[in-house]
């Protein structure tokens, strides 16, 4: 994975107080840990270790459990990611409709490996299982936006919209 420049020092006190504020909305509701992590992750597109520590303290659950949850679900990442997350489907219905060519072309255009982040930190590409839009396979999502019926030629224009 390509390292994100400056990622190590992102946990300034300003960021951590934002985390604290978000986590506080779930105080006393440890069962909402997953929802809390969704909200915290929205700040920086990943969950730094220090943020997990804050969430653990505020929700009063062991840090090990917070870490366990943060590493279990594929939408969460404890490693720095780019500004936009590209989730590209590699399940069978997309596979038979030519997902492989689209994936190869995407990685090629961005100059990254699967799971990697572009040098300008704009995109992180992740392989995912079915996104539930197989009617327009092959498909990918960029953040919360779905793109379907893809052919390699479509990618350039789609990526441009995020630059």
């Amino acid at each position: 994975m390509t390292a994100v420049p400056g990622a190590a020092c992102q946990c300034d006190s300003d960021f951590l107080s934002q985390v604290e504020r978000i986590a506080s909305m779930y105080r006393g509701k440890p069962e909402d840990l997953v929802l809390a992590l969704h909200d915290v992750q929205a700040l920086r597109n990943y969950l730094p270790r220090e943020a997990l520590r804050v969430v653990a303290r505020v929700l009063d659950v062991p840090e090990s459990r917070v870490y366990g949850v943060a590493t279990f679900y594929s939408m969460f990442s404890t490693k720095p990611r780019g500004r936009h997350i590209i989730r590209i489907c590699e399940s069978a219905p997309c596979h038979v409709m030519g997902a492989k060519e689209v994936i190869d072309s995407l990685l090629d255009q961005l100059g990254v490996e699967m799971g990697g982040t572009t040098a300008d930190c704009l995109f992180t590409v992740e392989a995912t299982s079915c996104l539930g839009v197989c009617g327009v396979a092959p498909a990918l999502m960029i953040d919360d936006e779905v793109y379907g019926n893809l052919v390699p030629g479509d990618l350039f224009e789609i990526l441009e919209r995020y630059k």
Partner: protein
């Protein structure tokens, strides 16, 4: 209520959103205003109309004209010609017919005859963001009837007699499930709607929630009444942004009208619903893993028994049902068990929603009576195989379902027949694959999915899925032997017996049917031959990455 001369329905299902329907709707609205027609023409964003690969779909009523692949230029033409001058734009019209669309001069073809909409009766027809439109189509009438005229035991009896079985994969009789929990004594019980929908090739639950969210809410309340639960959860995959938005809005509307909350219909019965978001894990669709996830933990399956029916969420009796199962409840209560049994076969009553994907002309969402044949679906509704290719295989029920060959095309699609062919109806996914694909490549893709999604808790599944990926990669590279294939089947059989949940247990279903129905092609790979010409001796590294992905 205002009266409009025309209604323009723009499909707002996720596949159409992916195709750009939002911009098209905004453009149509703008042009309608510009033409000063906004008091005569109403533009509505609806749920899925079915032919997802044809999107964005726009329907103009009262004529029932269906336009497909509508881009901005087409939108302008439709407004200028159809809405202003009253001349439908034939060139942009969709040739197929949609079961949800009734045309002014109704002359229905086979396509419509085959489909029968119960679960999807409102999807694509109403504005899913309007509770009034749902109510206008008898929405919440079943709930009112149940709460004021029926005892909980009557509700359960009706569901039992209807023969409804779970649509989430396991096909468990739904009435029996309700009865089980109703009989368990407890101070608190829960209803959970399973909307985690991760089975590849399945997107029906998403489109039901997006197109008719109130039906799911109504179904859950009725189930709560039947078993004595006052709280429900809808667990939705985190990636289903539109479903989450629509269902949350629908819950707020229902609360506002007193259809959720305290003392519903003056009956003294209370019920409320909360939405919980997943965060990307296929295994969370398994009911006990889902419960763990709602409790805020890693979504790993629990050992069963105890089953959720007696000890589920926070140790309390819990009914977990699939979205489609729940959406069947209001129509069954409203029309009765005998009515429901009038559809489908005697042993598999009712309809089934399928999602048709892969190499077929019409990909998308369909609802058909149980017992229809695969051939009718593929060559009738699906419009056949594109590009002059021919049918090779169909995988029914998602990745955990069986792979069927040409010989099975005329078999009825119901629970019993599917089982006899070693497959299942499962989640309703129907993946059609043509003869340009190699069976070993397909198997690699399926096995890769299992390895990727195994939660890692139990050894047979974690290690077994990894080893199977390795064996099939070897087969793809022409390096495997008969002993490897025997080992693969042995592994899958051990996984069936010893895995903790159905994820590991079901790998044998696709694998076994592939080995059985495509034996010749598999065997050829042992001798360095791939009839399709897709596999080569060398390693296909982009795909063959067994270890790092698990």
């Amino acid at each position: 209520m205002e009266f409009y001369r025309s209604h323009v329905l723009v499909c707002g299902g996720s596949p159409c959103v992916a195709a750009g329907c939002r911009a098209v709707r905004v453009e149509i609205e703008r042009l309608v205003r510009e033409q000063g027609l906004d008091r005569e023409v109403r533009v509505v964003e609806t749920g899925c109309l079915g032919p997802c690969d044809q999107g964005p779909i726009v329907v103009v009523y009262p004529e029932g004209t269906v336009y497909h692949r509508v881009n901005m230029g087409a939108a302008r033409e439709i407004v200028a010609e159809h809405l202003v001058k009253g001349r439908p734009v034939t060139r942009l019209q969709y040739a197929g017919e949609l079961p949800s669309v009734s045309t002014a001069d109704d002359k229905r073809t086979d396509y419509f005859q085959i489909q029968k909409r119960i679960v999807l009766e409102n999807v694509g027809l109403i504005d899913p963001e309007s509770i009034e439109e749902y109510i206008a189509r008898d929405g919440y009438l079943a709930l009112g009837t149940a709460l004021t005229n029926l005892r909980p035991a009557d509700v359960i009896e009706t569901v039992k007699r209807s023969g409804l079985r779970g649509r989430g994969g396991a096909a468990f009789p739904s009435g029996a499930k309700l009865e089980f929990t109703a009989r368990t004594e407890s101070d608190q019980k829960y209803i959970i709607c399973n909307a985690d929908e991760g089975e590849p090739g399945t997107f029906k639950d998403r489109l039901i929630l997006e197109g008719d969210p109130h039906k799911v809410i109504e179904g859950m309340i009725i189930m709560g009444y039947a078993v004595g639960a006052t709280h429900g959860y809808i667990y939705i995959r985190g990636e289903y942004y539109i479903s989450i938005e629509r269902i949350e809005r629908a819950i707020r509307q229902a609360r506002w009208l007193g259809l959720l909350g305290a003392n519903l219909f003056g009956s003294g019965f209370n019920f409320d619903i909360e939405v919980k978001k997943g965060a990307g894990a296929y295994v969370c669709g398994e009911e006990t893993a889902l419960i763990e996830s709602i409790e805020g933990k890693r979504g790993i399956p629990r050992r069963k028994p105890p089953y959720p029916g007696t000890s589920g969420l926070w140790g309390k009796p819990t009914v977990v049902n699939n979205v489609e199962t729940i959406a069947n409840i209001p129509p069954i209560i409203l029309n009765g068990a005998d009515w429901y049994r009038g559809f489908g076969t005697s042993t598999s009553p009712g309809t089934k929603v399928f999602t048709l994907t892969g190499n077929v002309n019409n990909r998308g969402l369909i609802e058909v009576p149980m017992g229809i044949t695969l051939r009718e679906v593929i060559y009738g509704i699906g419009g056949g195989i594109p590009d002059g290719r021919s049918f090779k295989m169909a995988q029914t029920g998602g990745t955990a379902g069986g792979c069927l060959a040409e010989a099975h095309l005329d078999m009825p699609m119901d629970y019993e027949s599917m089982q006899s062919a070693g497959s299942a109806l499962g989640s309703g996914a129907l993946l059609i694959i043509d003869d340009s694909h190699c069976i070993v490549d397909v198997a690699c893709s399926l096995l890769h999915f299992f390895a990727h999604e195994s939660c890692g808790q139990c050894t047979p599944c974690r290690e077994g899925t990894t080893r199977l990926v390795q064996i099939f990669d070897k087969l793809r590279q022409f390096r495997a032997t008969q002993a490897d294939l025997d080992l693969a089947m042995e592994l899958a059989t051990v996984m069936l017996r010893s895995s903790l949940c159905a994820l590991g247990q079901s790998v044998v279903v696709p694998l076994g049917t592939i080995m059985q129905h495509f034996e010749g092609e598999i065997q050829a790979h042992l001798h360095g031959k791939c009839s399709v010409g897709l596999c080569h001796g060398a390693c296909d590294c982009a795909e063959g990455r067994p270890a790092e992905n698990v």
